[in-house]
Symmetry: C2
Subunit: 500 residues, 2 copies
């Protein structure tokens, strides 16, 4: 091992340990922690965040990274080490500009914000969350201004800096183009689809489904899709999510509604897609800076690939549906496979992003993207956001929320400070279509699914996507698989073919 | 605030955060973490332990503590601050002697040992655990030798140093006397009791009790006894235990057997006793070095007080038994309150400490105490331990384990490096009897219990025990409540009265 890199390792080990601890706290807060713990636990989380930041940008670390900028030193590194150093430089650039104290104050604020948001959402009242949101946004803006003073951020626009944290290969210019192309096709398509909607009877989905049986079926389904229970656990939380301490401890959560069977089923397939990505990462990069998925969009592509391309296909359910019917004989005995497939693929405008169908999903993301741009590029007033939100829902989806709980407060992201994250969902959808298009060319996907054999699909993804972690970027992976960089073509074609 | 103390605070905040993280990892490993996570998570835990140690004995910390040894500086401190500084000095003395690298290697070993022990226990084969145990003991011995080189440990015997970590006010001299007094009374008493045992029909306890209903009843029972669900959670694990991130996040676990109703019931009362102690600690010392129970024995006194003095009394069940009968009508309809009380108080020698009755419990502890003395004072060979264990069980309890799983491997403590811990259980039993004797003098305990009113008891304990955390020692608390220091008299009297 390079002597310089060797000196970096103890710092990385500590930082990764703090990060794993923060992940565990996050998991615990969402799934288990008692109601009154927050105030105190927020301090604990603040301290650990601070320790993480401190060690990642320790003076010694910065000196070593500087040395590694010299070609003769850098060339001594292995490929993994090079990728780690590259990632570390990015993080130093992000963190180094933010004063330690503000970073930990912000972490404390974030740890509390989740609860404030949750209560406001329950009450459907944005004004209860607004002051907290404003505080978060002000921190974000301050952090951007600090970051602009340094390095490669100098010329970047505010919102592009945030976008870059999740998708280094994307910016507003590319996203404006992408969303424009998508919008142009989807809105007319949606109008056509709505006309045919009356033919589809989806009432089966809203009968009463015993929650314990849903839970049992979803456990089975996760394992069937490919969740490895020896390297992960499944919990329950208000909102399904996935997280990972490392590649041998990957955690996903689910939620259950008695009168909505689809919700738990597609949530668990989605989160299992995320989990398989993390569980499939090579162990030689576990607990290093590159030992996790390469980008949010690539992560979303993996979850959406299984949720939509695989999980909503007739071939998939040809094998799985009899099992579901057996679990709920009273509800599904008289629902044919064809009817079930039509039901789970029914596209209609709704208010809730996480419950949206494939066709309308990108419009939900687009609305958030446009509002985030307004926050960071146009200095919109926070108190005006619900009005803007509702107007955009009216314009794109023809619906208006009856209260903020099903409107602007529906997502936790802003409470976590995750601005610039939403676009990844749409990019991910497009990436998954691009990969799926290629996969169909090289293997009999539908035949495998009908036989209940998901292994060849998983193995393909493990080889080309999962194992690499952050060793390869989103576009590098796409180039490797499909010979093309990211584009909207296959996504739009996929939607047109499916919904026309 | 004293300027010197003020400078210590940031170090304490970081250390407490690392400790909270370690607690959460411990909880998670026992209740949830996936099977294959251990190897990697052990590294994470090792790193965080190391960070904890490093910050607790930072050079700057030691300088500040030195300054506070001067009377004029120390006298400026508040009572809480004085207690924190006192505690910190003890910890510095414990940790400072151990090289950082060895401390974290040991933490890593510990993190793995739990799993190795568990497997060996399942197979009932001590030889599978022996190498790991030997490694742990060697670390312990090495740490003792490091500690002896410094400060107040110079003249202490090896095992007294370990005992002192859990019970600063106890040593072998006191414990030999205590156990001698107890043994002298219990062994003859046990023989008398055994003769009468045939009269007690306890078969009701081993019928089939639906686990979901046990779970539900135990949730209710925990709340009834006084567990505050807004400041704690209840989970499940192989062995019931309690832990706490801070006074607003206290966690206990339970376990359930279909054919043993008593087990879950008395485990949950026991752990609730621990939990109420931590939940009752003053918030002005939360996340400080004194914001937890004062000693293991005082903790055990609180759990055993509720488990035994309260939880096995007729008055307690006069109120609670109808609810239990209603939960299990088929099993308990024909079991009278008197029969139930006789059953749950039946004393008979058994092999398993955690399932032992009040009378034989101390003998289980005595055996472990004698073996630990042999390990640290007489250099007994590790491979001989199962034989010694079995001989002692034969001598004191008249029974021999059929395999190591129900013998020497039954407890997790040694896998955690917790040598010197077991005596706290017996001391705790004695403390609880001493407190109970006083309580009966000052309030109508039985009347309250019959009325289902545990509040006056809880409030008394909160005022005299819980709130203080480590501000007061075990003996200080006993003196305050009863006017006497610790002694075996009330414990022996209690057992004689109950079982004669």
């Amino acid at each position: 091992m390079s002597q310089i890199f060797e000196k970096l390792v103890p710092y990385m080990n500590q930082a990764m340990a703090f990060q794993a601890a923060l992940t565990l706290f996050e998991w615990d807060q969402e799934t288990l922690a008692p109601a009154l713990a927050d105030e105190y636990t927020a301090n604990v989380i603040g301290e650990i965040s601070q320790a993480y930041q401190k060690i990642m940008i320790d003076e010694q670390v910065k000196k070593l990274l500087e040395k590694l900028k010299e070609e003769k030193n850098f060339s001594e590194l292995t490929e993994n080490e090079k990728a780690i150093v590259k990632e570390w430089n990015i993080i130093v650039e992000q963190l180094d500009s933010i004063p330690e104290k503000e970073y930990s104050e912000y972490a404390r604020l974030q740890a509390k914000a989740g609860n404030i948001w949750e209560k406001a959402k329950e009450e459907g009242d944005f004004s209860k969350f607004a002051p907290c949101l404003e505080e978060i946004i002000n921190y974000k803006k301050k952090f951007i201004s600090y970051r602009r003073k340094k390095g490669s951020y100098k010329k970047k626009k505010d919102y592009d800096i945030l976008l870059g944290d999740y998708e280094p290969e994307f910016n507003m210019e590319k996203l404006d183009k992408f969303f424009h192309e998508v919008k142009q096709e989807i809105i007319p398509l949606l109008k056509k689809v709505e006309k045919k909607n009356t033919e589809i009877d989806k009432s089966f989905n809203h009968q009463s489904y015993e929650i314990n049986k849903q839970r049992e079926f979803c456990q089975w389904l996760a394992a069937y899709v490919g969740f490895d229970f020896s390297k992960g656990v499944i919990g329950e939380s208000a909102h399904p999510f996935s997280t990972n301490l490392h590649n041998h401890d990957v955690r996903i959560s689910n939620h259950f509604y008695e009168n909505n069977l689809e919700s738990a089923i597609f949530s668990i397939i989605h989160e299992t897609g995320h989990a398989m990505y993390e569980q499939g990462i090579d162990s030689d990069i576990t607990l290093t800076l590159i030992g996790t998925g390469t980008s949010m969009a690539m992560h979303e592509s993996q979850s959406r690939f299984f949720e939509n391309m695989i999980g909503r296909s007739e071939s998939f359910w040809t094998y799985v549906y009899p099992k579901l019917q057996k679990t709920f004989p009273d509800n599904l005995r008289d629902v044919s496979l064809e009817q079930f497939i039509s039901g789970i693929n029914k596209a209609e405008p709704g208010l809730i992003r996480t419950e949206a169908d494939e066709l309308t999903y990108s419009l939900h993301v687009l609305i958030r993207y446009e509002i985030e741009k307004m926050i960071f590029q146009e200095d919109v007033k926070i108190k005006d956001l619900p009005k803007i939100w509702n107007e955009k829902y009216k314009e794109y989806l023809g619906l208006v929320p009856s209260h903020d709980g099903e409107g602007i407060l529906q997502d936790i992201h802003w409470a976590c400070g995750d601005f610039g994250y939403f676009p990844s969902y749409a990019i991910g959808s497009a990436v998954s279509a691009q990969i799926y298009h290629h996969l169909e060319k090289i293997m009999p996907v539908n035949q495998y699914l009908e036989e209940g054999n998901l292994l060849p699909i998983r193995e393909f993804l493990k080889e080309h996507v999962y194992q690499h972690g952050k060793r390869k970027s989103t576009n590098e992976i796409l180039l490797d698989i499909t010979g093309e960089e990211f584009n909207s073509f296959y996504y739009i074609e996929y939607l047109k073919q499916k919904f026309q």
